[in-house]
Symmetry: D5
Subunit: 91 residues, 10 copies
């Protein structure tokens, strides 16, 4: 099933640049793994914000939760999840 | 997977009593079927309102949508659904 | 560019069934045209609601507006649009 | 009587890992006691968040308050409680 | 246990005056019964609105729901209920 | 005149326990004085939160403000006040 | 004591012009009486809306309620009242 | 001074097409006059909605109010106005 | 033109008392100057909060902005401004 | 295409004055470059706040995002973007 995931990054602005860079690199690497596993299907930036909208696929909300919590930025992310239903037009 | 379903009934107050009674009886009958199928697991009233909170189980959001739309009151219900993840304490 | 489009259908519950069926058929036909034109890329149901979330692509917001207003249900739709930015992970 | 309890955990992300682990273990132990006492009946995770939804049973709101405040994480929890009424379908 | 009950009266402004007067008289009579039974303990007007705040006492939310639904104005009332816990200062 | 006063206590969770205890004791002592003066008439806990709902009586909002600001916890309280009108049923 | 009163006029747009004119004239006449009595001290329009912000003075919220309900437009007004405290700078 | 004006058109969807067309034509004509007078400086559509965002200039809020109320659609418009201050970068 | 100005003071509760006293004294002195200049016309306290509602007069929003930013507390104030239109009743 | 950009500056009030001055100067310099490039078309202050409303033009949301993130204040800005559609009146 598919989920729309909105994620606001609350990493404090005074985080040292090196720490930010490490977290960003680790975040990107983990996101790429989730893409390869078919969990992360699309990702967009919310213009003007340190925030994203993503389309995820997972067997159930618990698996989605594990995937989202596996992101290195997870402790600073404010995430909201919306479970979407397949539309009959797409069947 | 389980869903928390909040449902506000917007049936207009000036609906004729006979029509209301028919709808309520049909609603109850369909709800009972959903209970027997294991789709509707618990149902509570929101005190003071013509509204309910329900705990539903369905294979995915599309099946849940079908179940909710099969309720005779569905055209008047304002429904919000929250997909819940199993907590490891309950595993 | 891509847009996330949330659409709540406010068609009154007491609309005659034949009128509803005509509108639904026309809506589906127009949606299929928008898919063929590459404007409507994905469509989901919001479970429990007469509402959808869609992923659209259009050259600019004015073209998107025209596409959305060309839907037969448009007069009853409460639509919110969010312009999304391509994420560098997807470049 | 039953209560729906939504709990957002605001423990700061920079809490040392050992402190987090101690709190989590103590939280789990206390939650297990509340389950055994029949106070905590069900617990779910809100996917993507450090948050839970729980179904509690207590004689009255004061007893529920004591139970919730007995949780080791209580000082960091942002809790909202909704008192639910038994539905006649379940009588 | 005690409940704080906020009630907005949505009776349409074009309701005939005689109907309004009947409903008001019946509402007052029923409210007086609830006072005598100890269910309705205090009632205030929200200044400027056709709305009230009330302090109710009932054994549980289901009994409170029955009391509120027994009011003749109930079909037009938009009610929100908050369950309050006894404060130890008042023990 | 009577006021409904909702108060959220934002004292930081990492406040030393001794400081908390001192503040709580002082708060309780001042609240008791306000009760004796007839300013604080009822006090409830909001279950699950470090928050209260209180019923106050004061000659006017300025006197109420002074009473609330005299509480030792005042610098950490997020307070909202609602002025209530006497209901003719209670006259 | 003084109150800030925000008032949205919900008179339906399809109200016959003569009825509107009568209501407006009656509203103005009653407002003028309230000014003479010192109850209505200032009145502003919210630009772009059929809405006003007013500064009222009354002995207590019950008197204010009576004044507001005496306005001929009252059945269509959505009113919110905020009780203000005298600032010591103005003492 | 300049104002940002957001306007949602609540004309009912079942308004006869001829009436809609007349209103739209009159609205456009009046908007053109306001442009010529320098009152309406820019106008955008909110994509997907029967709504606009406009940049207006007027001597004060009362003049702006008159301009907005002179629009033939005014009875159906839900308008919010934000007064903007000149930025020193533009001085 | 007149503006309604709501101001929440976010000065941290742990600000040293001497610093608070200095800021309060400077704030009062500057407010008195604004009164003498006819910019600040009325000021109220929001009961229970470290917040005010004020009625200001200024030639335009830019002048109002300068006046508000000249307050010594400005860096800690969360201010919202509403431009009001003269009501024809007061002409 | 044009975007309406609302930006709240959350730079902490206790930021040293020299740091603030450097950031403001750099912000102004970068804003001037964006003006010269035709990206920033208009800028207003929200009166009473450390906030702006801007009218931007960019080829798509990704370019707008880059422009906004190039501002030296970006880490402290809370930005919301609204994509606007050209209105046929302006064609």
């Amino acid at each position: 099933m598919e989920f729309l995931v909105r994620s606001e990054n609350r990493l404090p602005p005074d985080t040292p640049e090196q720490r930010r860079a490490e977290l960003r690199a680790a975040e990107r690497a983990r996101a790429m793994q989730l893409r390869e596993q078919g969990v992360l299907k699309r990702l967009w930036r919310v213009p003007g914000r340190n925030a994203t909208v993503g389309l995820y696929e997972a067997d159930d909300p618990a698996r989605l939760h594990e995937a989202l919590m596996s992101l290195p930025m997870a402790p600073w992310l404010d995430v909201t999840v919306e479970a979407l239903a397949t539309h009959p037009q797409e069947a």
